[in-house]
Every structure is written in structure tokens, then in C-alpha cells.
């Protein structure tokens, strides 16, 4: 059984992530903890301004209305878990501090699920500053659940020859051994080279986990849309260029575009 935390902003909630959780529940035992966070991190309010033109905050944080909304959302989560017969817990972490709470909660979890359609929408389009920061500080792998996505039917492992990409691939294999049977492809993104680095060692490990894996080289990652048409509903597995530099990685258009599209499930892990 694995412990999954679902993180929500206390005033925005829906049950859309449960499609994926329900599918997962059918193939293995899971324990789900809902973590409700403050709508704003007051310790870093100046670093993360609300973006004009977005939906903003529907209610004032700390008001009776927001407390009422939180109670309603908690009840909705509990009802859904009971309906699906999933063991669960609810953590009320509404205390004005978002990032420290996420760090702490993720330390004691195997996986963190984030619904990108809702997550701190007042702070801009995804990936917004809150999402980037949360992905950066998370101490367990993160799965981004897109609002418009259909359940993953294939696995796409992004490899760039680095320690961190291999780290993410290994973590995915350990956490989701049940998804081994899906069609899987390893993509090496390189503009110049035709050689995948450390190919023989890589293949030896890959075949031991994914006997039917395909290896492909992607010349230009900007054309990923057309590439994904041949690989429908992928679960994209990616690392970062070192923990400290994850923000750098997100600056690269590729991953940002994928998150921004809000169509693909993304598994992101870094040390």
C-alpha cells in the first residue's frame, strides 16, 4: 500500500482527481491523505503576487465563509473516499503557511497529487509561481493531474543522460510497478547526437523493468504535439537538472508547455 497526499488550496476543491485515484485503487491498495492549505502563504506574500485578470480569491482568507467552504470541501472529500472504499485521512493545514506545510507533508508521503486546473489559480496560468515552488521543495515525487486529460495509457520516460533523469525513471518504476505492462517508450532529447549516452547499461536496466520498452530519439522537442499523437494519453516521467536547478528546468519551454497544455499526466521526481 502506498500513501498518497492530495494537496488542495482550502477554498478551491473538486473531485476530478478521483478518476485517476479510482483507476489506481482498482490495481493496488492506496491510502489517501487530503492536505488542505491556506489560500495564501503569508510568510512570502510579497514574493508571490496575485496576478491581475485571474479569478482571484472568491472569499477573504480567514473569514467565516472560507471556514464554511473548507468544511464543505472536507466533507466532500470524505464522502468520495467512503464511496470508493479508500482508507483516508484529512489534514487541516490552514495556518497561513503553505510551503513549509507542503515540505513537511511530502516528507511523509510516497506521492503527491496536484490537480493543475485548480492549484492556486489566482497566481496565474500553470505552471504558476506556487506550483513551481511546490514542485521545487517537494520531498516526494509529484504527479500533476490535468483537468482535461484522459487516464494514461502509455508511459513516456524522458532521458537526457543525466543522473537526475535516471533518478526520476527509477523512482517511477519503484512507485508504479503495477504500470509495467503499459506500452512504454524512452525518449532521448538531443538536437545533434544520434547516440543515447551509456546506452548498454541503460538498456540492461530498462529491459529488466520494462521488457517491451522502445527507445526513440527526439530531434526537436517543440514538435512534441505531433509526436504524442502517435503515443496517445502518455504518462510523462521527468526529472530535473539537480534539485536546486529545477526552476531552470521549468524555464525550458518544453516542460512548461506540457504543464501549460493541461492534457498530460506528469510524474516529476528530483532528489
Amino acid at each position: 500500500m502506498k500513501k498518497i497526499i492530495l494537496v488542495f488550496e482550502s477554498i478551491h476543491y473538486n473531485n476530478e482527481s478521483f478518476d485517476f485515484i479510482e483507476a489506481l485503487r482498482k490495481i493496488e491498495d492506496i491510502f489517501v491523505t487530503a492536505v488542505f492549505l491556506s489560500p495564501v502563504d503569508y510568510t512570502s506574500v510579497w514574493a508571490f503576487p496575485v496576478v491581475p485578470g485571474t479569478s482571484g480569491l472568491p472569499v477573504t482568507p480567514g473569514s467565516p465563509e472560507s471556514e464554511e467552504l473548507l468544511q464543505k470541501h472536507m466533507a466532500s472529500f470524505k464522502a468520495k473516499c467512503a464511496e470508493l472504499n479508500i482508507p483516508f485521512a484529512v489534514h487541516n493545514d490552514v495556518n497561513g503557511v503553505v510551503f513549509e506545510q507542503v515540505r513537511l507533508e511530502s516528507r511523509f508521503a510516497d506521492l503527491m497529487f496536484i490537480h493543475t486546473g485548480l492549484f492556486y489559480a489566482a497566481f496565474g496560468e500553470q505552471p504558476n509561481d506556487y506550483l513551481k515552488e511546490v514542485m521545487h521543495i517537494a520531498e516526494c515525487p509529484v504527479v500533476l493531474i490535468p483537468p482535461r486529460g484522459t487516464l494514461p495509457q502509455s508511459i513516456v520516460l524522458m532521458y537526457d543522460g543525466s543522473e537526475s533523469s535516471m533518478f526520476a525513471i527509477r523512482q517511477f518504476a519503484y512507485i508504479f510497478p503495477v504500470l509495467k505492462s503499459l506500452t512504454s517508450t524512452l525518449i532521448y532529447v538531443d538536437h545533434k547526437s544520434d547516440e543515447i549516452p551509456d546506452q548498454s547499461k541503460l538498456k540492461e536496466w530498462m529491459y529488466s523493468w520494462y521488457p517491451n520498452i522502445q527507445f526513440e530519439i527526439m530531434r526537436d522537442e517543440k514538435n512534441y504535439h505531433s509526436w504524442f499523437q502517435n503515443h496517445p494519453n502518455p504518462f510523462i516521467v521527468t526529472g530535473s537538472y539537480g534539485r536546486a536547478a529545477i526552476v531552470e528546468f521549468l524555464k525550458k519551454s518544453f516542460l512548461t508547455d506540457i504543464i501549460n497544455d493541461q492534457q498530460y499526466f506528469v510524474f516529476l521526481a528530483h532528489k
Binding site: 491510502f31 513537511l104 511523509f108 510516497d110 520531498e139 516526494c140 543522473e163 519503484y174 529488466s208
Partner: protein
């Protein structure tokens, strides 16, 4: 867990050491890849310059008789090792790595799930005096977890998670759990190491229990106070057949579970399997 690297110096290996990799293989059904590491430093004869002012070693020549003997000896040892494993019914494949053993192992570790190594593995006593212990170097640089194996054969009848509330100790616990999913009914002790010796230690019990509950059926907590390093040694020295997890070894930028040198002491003084990894 699918791919385990087993580091062996064929000149040193004893029959009893083969039992532990065999036990790991039976437990996890992994592919065992044996890396035969050998000392590639040739025996040389020093030549002196003859200059009375600077009589230091200037250059040296390879002593071919000694080296031929060494090559012959290592070939024999390798054959004996393969035969010994065959007798014990161990399934494995062999990689022969030439070059610097530490560099080779680190390179292999990126594409492996676990490394098995005996604490006392060494290649050249004189060389190691200068360069530090091989196992400690591998621990600091490996990209996958390392299981340091005791000299005698032991099994996992008990699990001990050392825990200081920080990321690295939880990281080690999680990695161990993913690699050995079949141990969920083995009794677990969480050894909380209170580094600050605070009156009310911050254990994050609620969160930790949720995680433990998801993975293990039988667990308990124990809090160590006072001089943590000594207490830990006292706790572990009489133990056998227990696996201990440690987060962080030799990477300066992360919070360490123990102060400098403490893990070294543990490595030298206790004789149970140690699972060591760092984020």
C-alpha cells in the same frame, strides 16, 4: 528490485559471503550482477637517480615476474570464485571492470537498484592507507542505495529505521521499502535520534504513523537521548539479523543524520546489514 550489483574482490572472497547475496536474490528475485574488482596496480621496482643531492625515486620499471604471478593468481581466484558460486546454486552474471574501482562502480550505480558490498572489501592495503577506505568512497558517491554486508550470513528478522525527523532519513526509509516490498510483516523499530536533546522532541508522529501504517503491519518507536552516537552503538552492537537504514553519508550539503565520523564508527564497530543512501 531487478538489478543488484555485487562488488567482489575474487582474491578475498570466502564461501560464507556468498550466502547473503543468495538470500537477497531469493527475497527479491533480482538479477545479480557481480562486479569483479581487482587491483590493477602493477608491482614496480624503484630506480634511484644516483644523484647525491636528489636521491628520490625518479622512475620505476615493471617487475614482470611478480606481475605474471599476480595475474596467474587472480585468474585462479576468479575460477575458484565462479566454481564456488556454482556449487551454492547462485545465479549471476559477471562484469569485469578495469580501471579505477570507485569510478567504475559509481558509473554502474546510476543504472542499478542496489549495491551489495562487504564492509572490509579492499584491494591494496598500502594504497588504501593513502586514499581512504574503498567502501566509504563508494557510499559517498553512489547514485543508488548501498547495502553494507556483514562478514557472516544474516537475515532480515527485524528492521530498524534510524530517524531524525529530516528528509534524508525518510528518504532512506522509503527507498528501502520500495526495494524490499515483501518485508511488510517484519517488525519495525523507528529509532528516533534526538540530535537537539530537546525537552519535547518533534517527531511528527501523526504523519509518520500514516506512512508506516501504509507499508508495515507491526512497528514501534524508540527515542534515544543523551550522547546519541554512543547510545546508537550501544543499541546496535549486540544485534544480529537486523537491517538498519541510514540517510546521508558524506555529502556535505544535506543535513546529516550523524555528526562527522559517527557513521564511520558505526561502520567499523557493528556487524549487521546496513542500508545507506542519501538524497
Amino acid at each position: 528490485m531487478n538489478k543488484v550489483l555485487w562488488l567482489v574482490n575474487p582474491l578475498q572472497v570466502t564461501e560464507m559471503e556468498i550466502d547473503f547475496p543468495k538470500y537477497i536474490q531469493e527475497l527479491t528475485h533480482c538479477n545479480l550482477l557481480c562486479i569483479l574488482l581487482e587491483n590493477n596496480f602493477y608491482e614496480t621496482l624503484p630506480m634511484y637517480t644516483g644523484d647525491p643531492m636528489f636521491p628520490a625515486v625518479d622512475f620505476s620499471v615493471i617487475n614482470s615476474t611478480l606481475n605474471e604471478e599476480a595475474i596467474q593468481r587472480s585468474d585462479n581466484a576468479r575460477h575458484a570464485f565462479v566454481e564456488m558460486c556454482g556449487k551454492k546454486g547462485l545465479q549471476f552474471s559477471i562484469h569485469n571492470d578495469k580501471g579505477n574501482p570507485v569510478t567504475e562502480v559509481v558509473k554502474e550505480s546510476r543504472f542499478a537498484d542496489l549495491i551489495l558490498v562487504k564492509n572490509s572489501l579492499s584491494f591494496n592495503a598500502a594504497f588504501e592507507e593513502l586514499s581512504g577506505n574503498f567502501v566509504k568512497k563508494v557510499l559517498g558517491k553512489s547514485e543508488c542505495p548501498v547495502l553494507v554486508v556483514p562478514d557472516d550470513h544474516q537475515v532480515f528478522d527485524e528492521i530498524c529505521f534510524t530517524y531524525n525527523g529530516g528528509y534524508s532519513s525518510l528518504y532512506a526509509m522509503r527507498q528501502f521499502t520500495y526495494l524490499f516490498p515483501d518485508l511488510k510483516d517484519v517488525p519495525v523499530t523507528v529509532l528516533f535520534v534526538d540530535e537537539k536533546n530537546s525537552e519535547i522532541p518533534v517527531i511528527h508522529e501523526k504523519e509518520l504513523k500514516e506512512w508506516l501504517n501504509a507499508h508495515y503491519s507491526n512497528f514501534s518507536f524508540k527515542i534515544l537521548r543523551g550522547d546519541v552516537e554512543t547510545e546508537l552503538l550501544v543499541e546496535m552492537m549486540p544485534k544480529k539479523n537486523m537491517i538498519v537504514t541510514y540517510g546521508a553519508f558524506g555529502r556535505n550539503n544535506i543535513s546529516r543524520l550523524f555528526r562527522r565520523g559517527s557513521a564511520d564508527k558505526v561502520l567499523e564497530m557493528i556487524d549487521i546489514p546496513l542500508f545507506i543512501t542519501h538524497p
